[in-house]
């Protein structure tokens, strides 16, 4: 008996079986994103001097520092620097030095050094006196000769002062600091082999800035000399300075005048400003000038100036004379139509410039204008290239190049000899909304089935026969495909091709930058198409409504755009209205209803909607009725000056397989099922209480309320409600002897009555009304059973797996920001009826209940993300498939992650251990055996008859 119980418990607990290694990348996909790389801080770097292999390093606009394998675009490691420092909108700065296993990154006031190969922390530092404006690795002759680690020069700028600090390469300790309190804008730090330069912008008397260069002794930081360059006529803002070089024999400061007529060049360390006339022969205004120069100490003092006009670009290469500091023009790269980007790379002292245009990629040496290599671009991109970094390899006379190009749409792609090797869609990190879409082809059958569902038995049968006869026209095609299908189904890894069961539905994702992406979940989330829908940087998408074949995106400004889901083509648009909407409700008939910031409906609605529940900006929950659109029929204001922070309701698709819970003695505990339930979370930040209120959406009646004390309102509070249960989690502190300190997860189940076999006051009534109850107490309050668990880490978002009919047990999907993962906690574990402080009785054990343990450790098998580091997730969505066992899960907000969840295992799919080949082979062998034996047996029987006579 014991054994049986134990086995039963095991069977109940294990439904969330782990994800097996062979399912990884098959059922799930993950885009590990870092965000749009910043141009100044992206580079190829050889982390080890022993190996020639280099990695691609960057820091993004999200202050995420990442190392990418240039071979396949896989992320090797990444660190979110914005977590440690205070948030900054500038992104970050990243520097590295070839052959040294260290990169130094800074974001906000936080600076840290990481090993380049595997991203381990070497040192970190937090400055209290300002924000890091610039960092540079000090490449001095003496330093490179003695120790492996390069010291870092950090410029910390605040409103009143600029401080240059030399930080030790091994410990991050400050070796010296030089403080400038003149009130200039701390701009950049630069270094030559012998000196350190602090470049600041001194505001001129009338307008503009003068460039002030202060030379410092690299050993002790003492100021050696200081001079000011007259640049106030040209430099209006700090952005006007085009380029400040560093770590070369002759570092440069380059700026241009406002009309783009002349270029001013100063070799840092000299007072002389050289003027170079820009020869604009294109006939168009120059839109952008970029300066590209090598970053290596021993490289030739050459640099390239890239001029971009509206429709084309050209470039000029200049040489600097080391002795006289004279700048001379060497040659010109011709004007070409279309977009182009230029990247610099070094081989020893030689400098190479790679120019990537729409149609081709060319390499030139800085010394002469002869083209060393030219490749036609395989697929011309329509997106503008913003910047590029390249790496050139020379073998004898021939050269090869690989360049990483950042496109305007946020796509980061590696082009090797003209071929696009990989593309990373870094724009997806700003995903704000996503949904699954229905392809048009699938809809025809669904519609037919719906028709059949509504007809009488005979009518439906006739309809089906007719449909099948019509389908016969596809038979020849089907027969033609059959051999191929059989062969592929025997040979492929997966036993059944599940794409027809809706497990490979495309997902469309809207990003903050106004773009829309379609991800193919059947192909590891590959981007099928992407389209710029809105020209904005703050696209506040509130809702995506899908119809078969198309999807409509509604933004908070009242505008909408309808796109074709298979091509991404924008079909129609509506202009924004002047109201700001806080949410958009989509109804069954694909119409939408906007909700204003104050919670009132933006447009009138009628009785067909009936009742509407909204939240207002000032923390109330409002109920509206179709009869009166002007004022709410009820209003929920949480007691004791709490403020509503979150409200959630049951999912739209929330089927109930069984209306009761069968107990061990086979009596029934009836579930409290009311589709109009809303769970409201309210917080009082002053006395650290959090209230959780269960409301009836029609009458506004509070059906259940609970208050938690000692809640930290700054920590995430997540909640979810579905079926007849709800869950919430928060950080609770000790308020009395019996309370626990830590992250807590509370699960509550709602029943119609505390007694089994009792359907509560409404008993066997077929329907109920929240307004016109027979006994005034309507709707009846539920019987609530709750249990709390202490969990190891915070939960930032909760969702529940959804299946087609709700027969499969549900999983509570929790986003864990600290371990960068998503965990699916099986419901049998979270059963509030688990016996406390005693072992379960045999009938309880039969129900699958086991002893309550206050600490709920997340089992490794529950992690849907298994070994993946899925960070920054803000929203997790779940969608049913045609397979009852399988639920689709899609997470976005930072990384993009999608998987299939099978909370009760894939009970309706043939497993991988099922071998079709073996089955077919067995049948064939048996048939052969029968074919051989049948004549033999017949002969024997005849012989027997003859013998009998």
């Amino acid at each position: 008996m014991r054994l049986q119980v134990a086995l039963f418990i095991a069977a109940c607990v294990s439904p969330a079986a782990a994800i097996y290694p062979d399912e990884v990348n098959h059922v799930d996909f993950h885009h590990a994103l870092i965000g749009t790389p910043s141009p100044d801080s992206t580079f190829f770097l050889k982390p080890s001097s022993a190996s020639n292999a280099s990695l691609l390093y960057t820091i993004s606009d999200q202050s995420i520092l990442g190392a990418v394998n240039p071979r396949d675009g896989a992320l090797i490691w990444r660190k979110d620097l914005s977590r440690a420092g205070f948030p900054t909108n500038k992104g970050g700065i990243l520097r590295g030095s070839d052959g040294h296993n260290a990169v130094v990154g800074a974001a906000g006031n936080y600076i840290s050094s990481w090993t380049a190969q595997d991203g381990k922390l070497i040192w970190e530092n937090k400055f209290q006196d300002g924000v890091v404006a610039d960092i540079e690795l000090l490449e001095l002759e003496e330093a490179s000769a003695t120790s492996g680690a390069r010291d870092t020069l950090a410029l910390v700028g605040s409103e009143s002062a600029g401080i240059v600090r030399r930080l030790d390469g091994n410990t991050g300790k400050t070796k010296w600091e030089s403080k400038d309190t003149s009130g200039d804008v701390a701009f950049q730090v630069s270094s030559s082999p012998t000196e350190v330069f602090y470049i600041s912008l001194q505001s001129a008397l009338l307008k503009g800035y003068k460039v002030k260069v202060t030379a410092l002794d690299p050993v002790n930081g003492r100021q050696t000399r200081q001079y000011v360059l007259n640049s106030e006529n040209e430099i209006a803002t700090p952005e006007s300075v085009l380029y400040v070089g560093a770590n070369v024999a002759s570092p440069l400061i380059v700026w241009a005048d406002k009309t783009h007529k002349t270029l001013k060049v100063n070799v840092i360390g000299t007072k002389q400003v050289q003027t170079v006339n820009i020869e604009n022969t294109s006939g168009q205004d120059i839109r952008r000038i970029t300066v590209h120069a090598p970053h290596k100490l021993n490289s030739l003092p050459h640099f390239l100036v890239h001029y971009v006009t509206e429709s084309g670009a050209w470039a000029e290469v200049y040489h600097v004379d080391l002795m006289t500091s004279a700048v001379t023009k060497a040659y010109k790269l011709p004007y070409l139509q279309g977009q182009s980007a230029v990247a610099t790379s070094n081989i020893d002292a030689n400098v190479y410039f790679t120019r990537i245009t729409d149609s081709e990629a060319t390499i030139v040496s800085s010394a002469s204008h002869g083209i060393l290599g030219r490749w036609n671009m395989e697929a011309a991109s329509t997106e503008r290239a913003l910047h590029a970094v390249s790496e050139v390899v020379s073998k004898g006379k021939s050269v090869a190049v690989r360049a990483v190009v950042l496109r305007e749409a946020g796509a980061w792609e590696l082009v090797r000899n003209g071929q696009t090797e990989w593309t990373r869609h870094e724009d997806l990190i700003d995903a704000v909304a996503a949904t699954w879409v229905e392809q048009e082809a699938q809809e025809a059958l669904a519609h037919e089935l719906e028709v059949e569902g509504h007809e009488s038995l005979i009518g439906a049968y006739i309809h089906r026969v007719k449909r099948h006869i019509r389908d016969l026209q596809h038979l020849p095609d089907w027969l033609k495909e059959l051999p191929q299908r059989i062969v592929s189904s025997v040979l492929t890894d997966e036993v059944t091709n599940l794409d027809n069961f809706g497990v490979a539905k495309p997902v469309i994702v809207a990003t903050k930058s106004g773009r829309l992406y379609a991800l193919n979940t059947g192909k590891q989330g590959a981007v099928d198409w992407s389209v710029q829908v809105e020209e904005t940087s703050q696209w506040d998408v509130k809702s995506i409504v899908t119809r078969p074949g198309e999807a409509t995106i509604y933004a908070s400004d009242g505008s909408s755009a309808t796109v074709n889901v298979s091509t991404g083509e924008v079909i129609s648009r509506t202009a924004p209205t002047n109201v700001k909407l806080q949410s958009i409700l989509s109804l069954e008939d694909h119409s939408v209803l906007g909700i204003n910031e104050d919670g009132s409906p933006a447009t009138l609605f009628d009785d067909s909607i009936g009742f509407l529940v909204t939240t207002s900006a000032d923390g109330r929950v409002l109920g509206w009725s179709g009869q009166d659109n002007k004022s709410p029929v009820w209003e929920f204001v949480p007691p004791s000056s709490q403020k509503v922070v979150h409200a959630t309701s049951r999912p739209v698709h929330d089927p109930i397989a069984s209306i009761g819970k069968v107990l061990g003695n086979r009596s029934v505990l009836y579930k409290y099922l009311n589709p109009n339930l809303a769970l409201v979370t309210a917080v009082n930040e002053k006395n650290n209480t959090a209230g959780f209120y269960l409301l009836d959406g029609v009458s506004g009646k509070v059906l259940y309320a609970t208050t938690q004390y000692g809640v930290d309102p700054t920590q995430p509070i997540a909640s979810v409600i579905t079926e007849n249960w709800f869950a919430y989690s928060f950080f609770g502190d000790v308020v009395d002897e019996s309370s626990a300190k830590g992250y807590q997860l509370v699960i509550s189940e709602l029943y119609e009555s505390s007694a089994p076999n009792d359907r509560g006051p409404l008993d066997s009534a077929g329907n109920f009304s929240s307004l016109h109850g027979s006994n005034g107490d309507s709707p009846p309050s539920p019987h609530v059973v709750s249990q709390a668990f202490v969990i190891p880490e915070p939960i930032s978002h909760m969702a529940v797996t959804q299946t087609r009919q709700g027969i499969t047990t549900r999983q509570l999907l929790c986003t864990l920001p600290e371990s960068s993962s998503i965990v699916g906690i099986p419901r049998p574990v979270l059963d509030p009826r688990r016996p406390v402080d005693r072992d379960p009785t045999s009938s309880e054990a039969e129900e699958g209940l086991f002893r309550y343990a206050p600490f709920l450790e997340f089992d490794g098998r529950w992690f849907l993300t298994h070994v993946r580091d899925v960070s920054g997730i803000k929203t997790v969505l779940s969608q049913p498939t045609l397979l009852e066992s399988t639920s689709l899960v899609f997470a976005f907000g930072g990384d993009i992650f999608g998987t299939r969840a099978t909370p009760s295992q894939a009970f309706d799919v043939l497993g991988k251990s099922f071998s079709k080949l073996q089955l077919v082979a067995t049948i064939v062998a048996l048939s052969i055996g029968v074919a051989f034996l049948a004549p033999m047996v017949r002969k024997k029987q005849v012989n027997q008859l003859w013998k009998a006579v």
């Binding site: 806080q582 009742f611 029934v668 029609v698």
Partner: protein, 185 residues
């Protein structure tokens, strides 16, 4: 398959065995039987001699028949304790053995009930006919007892729809008359 061949003609000795003995010739009848040989006629005489006493007392025969009938009627009751122990020991889990045992437990009494009249047909004489009703009633009662044991067992195995949970699938969710739409942030 080939159709079966007609059976071969029976051998001579079989024909001789099956056909009646030819009437002995006059001369043969005159021959005296060897000592110790009893002719068929003599056997018949003996049987008649044995039967003669019972035929003489029909009441006794009826009593005997009734006694025998009672024995048959009571027989199922002897199985009840054994079956009960077996059923108790076999456990309430659904396994192939317990299911087979329960099946046999039902099959026996039901067959017995159907064959009630056949069972007692040989004891049925005009004289015993009236008294046999009681016997049959007891027999039926005993079989029902066995059936009850089977039903008890099936119930213990949880196969009878006697609890609320068995009818849960036929109960439907209560439908709300009003529907609320939620537009939360």
């Amino acid at each position: 398959m080939s159709s079966p061949l007609p059976p071969p003609p029976p051998p001579q000795w079989v024909v001789a065995l099956n056909s009646p003995m030819p009437r002995p010739t006059k001369a043969a009848t005159s021959i005296q039987d060897p000592p110790g040989f009893s002719s068929t006629r003599g056997g018949k005489q003996q049987k008649q001699q044995q039967k003669q006493p019972t035929e003489k007392k029909p009441e006794e025969t009826d009593a005997l028949k009734l006694k025998k009938a009672w024995e048959i009627a009571i027989a199922p009751s002897k199985q009840i304790p054994m079956n009960a122990i077996m059923m108790y020991m076999s456990g309430n889990s659904l396994q192939i053995f317990s299911i087979m045992m329960v099946f046999m437990l039902f099959k026996g009494p039901i067959q017995g009930l159907i064959n009630t009249n056949v069972m007692f047909a040989k004891f049925d004489t005009p004289a015993t006919h009236g008294r046999l009703y009681g016997v049959k009633a007891v027999y039926i009662l005993m079989q029902l007892g066995l059936l009850a044991l089977g039903i008890w067992k099936v119930n213990a195995m949880g196969l009878l729809p006697t609890t609320r949970s068995d009818w849960l699938a036929w109960e439907s969710e209560r439908q709300p008359l009003e529907q609320a739409y939620f537009a939360f942030r």
